[in-house]
Amino acid sequence: MAEFLQALAQGLLIGSTYGLLALGMGLVYGVSGVVNFSHGDFISLGMFLCLALYSAFALDPYISLVITVPLMTVIGGLVYWYLLRPMVGHQFLMVVQLTLGLSLVLQNGILMVFGGQPARTPSVVESKLLILGDVVVRVPHVIAFVVSFAMAIGLYIMLRSTDFGRSIRAVHQNAHSAALMGIDVSRVQTLTFALGIGILAIAAALLLPGTPIQPAQGLRYTVITLIVVALGGMTNFVGIMLGGLIIGLSEAYGTIYLSDTLGMLLPYGIFVLIMLFRPQGLTWSSSR
């Protein structure tokens, strides 16, 4: 039972950060139809920026956010404006290939600067534990859980009740009509992409304490993110957070109750089954 509860806590905590990783991608997909295969490498970039700030100024990852979030937001905006915007209207797969090229550039740019050795970025809360009865959880995971859900709620409110949020929803529903209503579609798409990458900077700092990082990890994060976004129906915020929790839980239970290989297969198996038997959860399939 203790094992069961431990896995439950672990899965929920990790899953919430997966959800946060996926929110940005879902937002971008909803507004510009871009599936960003360099998503995971932007997470890497966020993590290594924190590492750089720690090595240079001994900044804690949570404090580095003050610098990394604006920086990544600007990078995201520039990437969309100069690289992805010219591809609007071209084949979906070409855009995907472009983000793959970007992934190569980011991953190897990081490798050139930081080298290929796994690195760690210490934080004050890194080794702190929270003990609730039989369940032991790490404080960074609790922080990540709380912040992830706070961010999800914040984004939801922003989309509901600010002008920028309304313009995002308008472009999502019908870019053509939105343009006729006087919304600058390219601008909204660029800002959304920038926002999506900015969120990743936060997610990166949340995931960082206690996690060894290396430049080649990007693709793994991209795959997890894609799976979570797809489970959530691509653009549905509640669905995406739920998808994150499902993948987090299946990873946690898979590694505890099944052999190594089977445990690693479990999240993918669950993903395939859900995709096949709950297509109604996939809101985009009916509209495409």
Binding site: V35, L83, P86, M87, H90, Q91, F92, L93, M94, Q97, L98, L100, G101, L102, S103, L104, V105, Q107, N108, G109, I110, L111, M112, G115, G116, P215, L219, V223, L226, I227, A230, M234, S259, D260, T261, M264, L265, Y268, G269, F271, V272, M275, L276, P279, L282, W284, S285, R288
Partner: protein, 330 residues
């Protein structure tokens, strides 16, 4: 329409390729021969993928399963059970074909959208990687080492180097010719109809399931055979190279950048990008780790921004622009 295919077969270009293939390899330093062989491997793989990804418009990332089966299973059968590699090639190809048919059936049965198909095949590819790395019979995470290539043809050995070159050249040409044949056969028209409008295709009575399975099985078996030949050339069956999602990402990249759905597009992309990547690696590999991939990534981005429809269509446009000028100057 058959005539198109026969016209391709009797084209004088083959003679040029044959002469080049006989004359060049013995002259090339082994490093450049290696690059040529690699380029041919990817020409073959990208063309095989094109049948599903380009013509039928189904962006399958599950092809690493077929390449991996061809490579790892045939090697495991030889090393663990003493099965002749020719037989292993056939067994692997059949298993790949069955897997391909199952994936096509799943796609049809559950009416997957484009994006769901990409993601589900990606999940299959990831599962394949996990299974190979966790299963000792297929070599686990450490891979398998084939016996040295002594040039015994009956044991699927071609003597490395020039022998491997000929095998890959044949596979690449076969792969391209299958593309040309399908494009000019009813199957090619059905596939493009399905790609462009599946509902319309269904409405005019195209048997969607049958043609989707046909395309996937042909493509899967071809990929598997290429995988077997590739591993024989490499000698070391490395799961991180042959079953990884990276190999299929590369194949899709070459096919897309070259020109999807064209008979020669994917081959063109592979012929340009593989040598570029290898030469960058050779020149810069020893300097700063990551530098050659970094430049490669920049080139890929630049090429895509320059020719968002693919390189082959771009070159055709340039060529057709140059031609009238040449004609008028005469």
């Amino acid at each position: 329409m058959r005539q198109e295919f026969y016209k391709t077969l009797t084209s004088p270009v083959w003679l040029v390729i044959l002469v080049l293939a006989v004359v060049l390899p013995p002259l090339l330093p082994s490093y450049y021969l290696h690059i040529v062989i690699l380029a041919l491997v990817y020409v073959a793989l990208a063309s095989a993928w094109n049948i599903v990804g380009g013509m039928a418009g189904q962006i399958s990332l599950a092809h690493s399963l077929f390449i991996g089966t061809g490579a790892m299973l045939s090697t495991a059968l030889l090393l663990k059970l003493g099965v002749n590699m020719w037989l292993g090639l056939v067994i692997s190809a059949i298993i790949s074909g069955v897997m391909g048919a199952m994936i096509a059936w799943i796609d049809f049965r559950f009416q997957l959208g484009h994006l769901s198909f990409v993601l589900i095949t990606m999940a299959f590819a990831e599962m394949g990687t996990v299974i190979v790395e966790g299963w000792d019979f297929l070599g686990g995470a450490s891979g398998l080492l084939l016996p040295q290539d002594k040039g015994d043809f009956l044991a699927f050995q071609f003597g490395g180097g020039i022998g491997a070159f000929w095998v890959m050249l044949v596979l690449a040409i076969v792969s391209i010719l299958i593309n040309v044949a399908i494009l000019n056969a009813p199957l090619g028209y059905y596939l493009r109809t399905i790609r462009d409008n599946e509902n319309a295709a269904r409405a005019i009575g195209v048997n969607i399931l049958r043609y989707k399975i046909a395309a996937m099985v042909i493509s899967a078996m071809l990929s598997s055979v290429i995988g077997t030949a590739y591993v024989r050339y490499l000698t070391f069956a490395d799961p991180y190279l042959l079953v990884s999602p990276i190999i299929i990402i590369e194949v899709v990249l070459f096919a897309t950048v070259g020109g999807l759905g064209r008979a020669y597009g994917p081959a063109f992309g592979a012929l340009l990008l593989v040598p570029l990547g290898e030469i960058l690696r050779g020149k810069l590999g020893g300097t700063l780790p990551g530098l050659h991939y970094f430049i490669y990534g920049v080139v890929v981005i630049a090429v895509i921004l320059m020719s968002p429809r693919g390189l082959l269509p771009l070159f055709e446009k340039w060529f057709s622009r140059m031609r009238p000028k040449a004609a008028t100057s005469k």
